[in-house]
């Protein structure tokens, strides 16, 4: 014979355990999908009150990124029959530490203004309330790929929802199920995106006479494996003059292309350089782009005319 649990309706500022949570205590799983503890990335929300009230029916959390200052907003709904006031607190915990609050109670997050809590005032019955100052968390690199939980606490005089420091070990989920003012959001900390190391050197090219021009890129003292490409931004008869992405395998190395351009041709020459991930450019490194032209009909030794020369050197 099964025993039915006694239930009650939470009558204070509710921080939902999941989208399905309407305030019935105890709350039922899932208990770590709170839509009211909301990491949003690094950019502040322009009008948090309007934004988080308007999408109360959705979970709008974004990934938490290691080594970046993630902003976390908290919202709640007043299920009390009277106007209510309260304070918002936020903690973070490793998922495996949830049952040991002594390991995470010190992980209290501060608001962007540096305060430990945000005051909610005069919340009307039935109204959605938003902590309009975000809390900020910069997970260190060791948390990359690890599960972490953000814990939001809406503390009022009637329900202070204190972190149960004296009871250890704690059954975290059991505790959350009974605390209508506590929301937990479990997420995986993602890696900081690797910056794109590509450098683009761009310069003008003009050839009033038109004719056959040569475009050369010489790479010196760059790590082998560096990739280089070149293109002229103005197409000729619908074709783009370019050197496809080429892996540098020698030092120095020159790659080139020749093409006939029409009279009064002008373009940008763009040389893209993606330094190899490993290896450091040598002290004499350079990438030099040249455009040259041999006037037709010249006799004697071929002496190309230099039309453009651009170079870049990467310092330490």
């Amino acid at each position: 014979m099964s025993r039915k649990l006694a239930t009650s309706q939470y009558d204070d500022l509710l921080c939902r355990a999941s989208l399905a949570d309407t305030g019935t205590i105890p709350r039922t799983p899932p208990l770590e999908e709170s839509p009211d503890v909301i990491p949003v990335g690094t950019a502040a929300v322009l009008d948090p009150k309007a934004y988080f009230t308007g999408n109360y029916g959705k979970n709008v959390a974004k990934p938490v990124v290691a080594e970046e200052a993630n902003l976390i907003y908290v919202r709640g709904k007043n299920l009390a029959p009277a106007v209510q006031n309260g304070d918002v607190y936020v903690y973070w915990a490793r998922a495996e530490d949830l049952d040991s609050p002594s390991k995470w109670q010190g992980n209290q997050l501060l608001t962007v203004e540096g305060h430990g809590s945000f005051r909610l005032t005069d919340v009307e019955p039935g109204a959605i309330t938003v902590a309009t100052s975000a809390f900020t968390w910069t997970p260190d690199a060791a948390l990359e790929g690890k599960s972490a939980v953000l814990i939001g606490v809406l503390a009022t005089n009637d329900h202070p929802n204190p972190v149960p420091t004296l009871r250890s070990p704690l059954d975290f989920n059991r505790w959350v199920s009974k605390q209508g003012g506590v929301g937990a959001f479990k997420t995986t900390v993602v890696s900081k995106p690797k910056p794109d190391p590509t450098v683009t050197l761009s310069g003008d090219f003009k050839l009033a006479e038109g004719g056959l021009a040569e475009f050369l890129v010489t790479v010196t003292d760059m790590p082998l494996g560096t990739e280089v490409s070149m293109k002229l931004t103005t197409p000729v008869d619908g074709h783009v003059i370019s050197i496809p992405q080429t892996r540098i395998t020698q030092n120095p190395q020159t790659i080139g292309v020749s093409a006939t351009v029409p009279q009064n041709y002008t373009s940008q020459i763009e040389t893209r350089i993606a330094p190899a991930g490993s290896g450091v450019p040598g002290s004499n490194n350079s990438v030099v782009t040249r455009a040259q032209y041999t006037p037709p009909g010249a006799s004697g030794p071929v002496r190309p005319v230099l039309l453009a020369r651009y170079s870049i050197h990467f310092g330490k």
Partner: protein
């Protein structure tokens, strides 16, 4: 001891000009002058006159383009001309001229490895009229330092450097050659730029009043940009903006120059982050533009200055010797009292990325 009778490079400020040079240090010639990352106006005047009897050299900036000047005094009986060359050598290779003779410095245009020098009369000091450029100076090898060697070539004394072999005693060679100078130099690493870029420039057949600008976009506040060319204009002045701190994005710093026809140079641009992190749209651009008067037919092909992406834009006022806001700068010319300023872009080189590089 006989006195040297041609264009002479001093070993010390008190070097009397006798050959062989004796009782003096030979490795600190005051006539080889590394002068840092900014060129000077009229070096053939600046480094003679009151400055001739002063040590003018500065430390050399590692991993940057450094401007090197050279000078001397004419002990020929009358006016004399020559060509000045400058070389660099790691100290451990100083005895092997066949190796360092390849390390000759070129002028800013990159088309000559020497500069003409001229002395109007006997005993007149002389100096190069433009810099030679030591590009992206490397750090000296371990337990070594760099030496610089200057060499003045005249019809009477070409002071050749051997193609092969070695000196048994470099100091003796310098002591016996009045047209040779030797200076040991110090390379300092602090403040080196992260990015150096360069663009060949040819003014073509038509000279004019040009603006040369450097624009930084999405560069960290507190970073610095600069550019220079060591090729003198007709009045002996050079075009340069010294290292300038970025305080906004985008931000542009410029100067104006009257560039003669056929003027050729290489413009060197540089950027150093000073520890800041650039944003995703990081871009440093060097541009040359011409601002036609409103009455010019070229005015219509220009682009409204507000649409050029210059951001916070300052021009160097040559008369006031400080920067003024570009709008004020251009509108001080009566022709721009009303109507938009519409520059015509003549050339540009830019470096974009790397994203978020430190």
């Amino acid at each position: 001891m006989p006195k040297y009778t041609d264009m002479y490079i001093r070993a010390t400020l008190t070097d009397p000009g006798n050959i062989p040079r004796t009782n003096m240090g030979l490795s600190a010639s005051p006539d080889i002058i590394p002068y840092g990352i900014m060129p000077v106006n009229n070096p053939d005047q600046f480094f003679v006159g009151d400055n001739f009897n002063k040590i003018m050299s500065k430390d050399i900036q590692y991993d940057a383009d450094n401007y090197i000047y050279a000078r001397g005094i004419n002990y020929a009986a009358g006016a004399q001309t020559g060509q000045m060359y400058v070389y660099y050598a790691p100290s451990n290779l100083l005895l092997y001229p066949s190796t360092w003779r390849q390390n000759v410095l070129y002028n800013s245009a990159g088309d000559r490895d020497n500069v003409d020098v001229a002395a109007a009369s006997a005993n007149a000091p002389f100096a190069v009229s433009q810099a030679l450029v030591w590009r992206k100076v490397p750090y000296p090898p371990p337990n070594s330092h760099y030496c610089m060697i200057s060499r003045v070539v005249t019809a009477q004394n070409p002071n050749p450097i051997p193609n092969t072999g070695s000196y048994s005693d470099f100091a003796t060679w310098v002591a016996n050659n009045g047209g040779i100078g030797w200076r040991n130099v110090t390379v300092v690493a602090a403040g080196s730029p992260e990015i150096l870029f360069a663009s060949a420039y040819d003014q073509g057949d038509e000279g004019g009043l040009m603006d040369v600008l450097i624009t930084a976009t999405d560069a960290p506040i507190g970073s610095e940009v600069w550019f220079s060319s060591g090729t003198p204009l007709a009045d002996g002045k050079v075009i340069a903006i010294p290292p300038t701190k970025i305080t906004q994005s985008p931000q542009t710093w410029g100067t104006q120059a009257n560039i003669p026809p056929q003027w050729r140079t290489t413009f060197n641009g540089a950027y150093r982050s000073n520890g800041g992190t650039p944003g995703k749209n990081f871009d440093v651009s060097l541009r040359i533009q011409f601002v036609p008067l409103a009455s010019s037919k070229l005015y219509l092909i220009g682009r409204d200055i507000g649409d050029c992406g210059f951001g916070d834009f300052h021009m160097f006022d040559q008369r006031e010797r400080h920067y003024v806001h570009a709008d004020k700068f251009f509108r001080s010319r009566a022709d721009f009292a009303s109507g938009p300023v519409r520059p015509v872009l003549l050339g540009a080189v830019s470096v974009r990325g790397p994203e978020n590089a430190g």
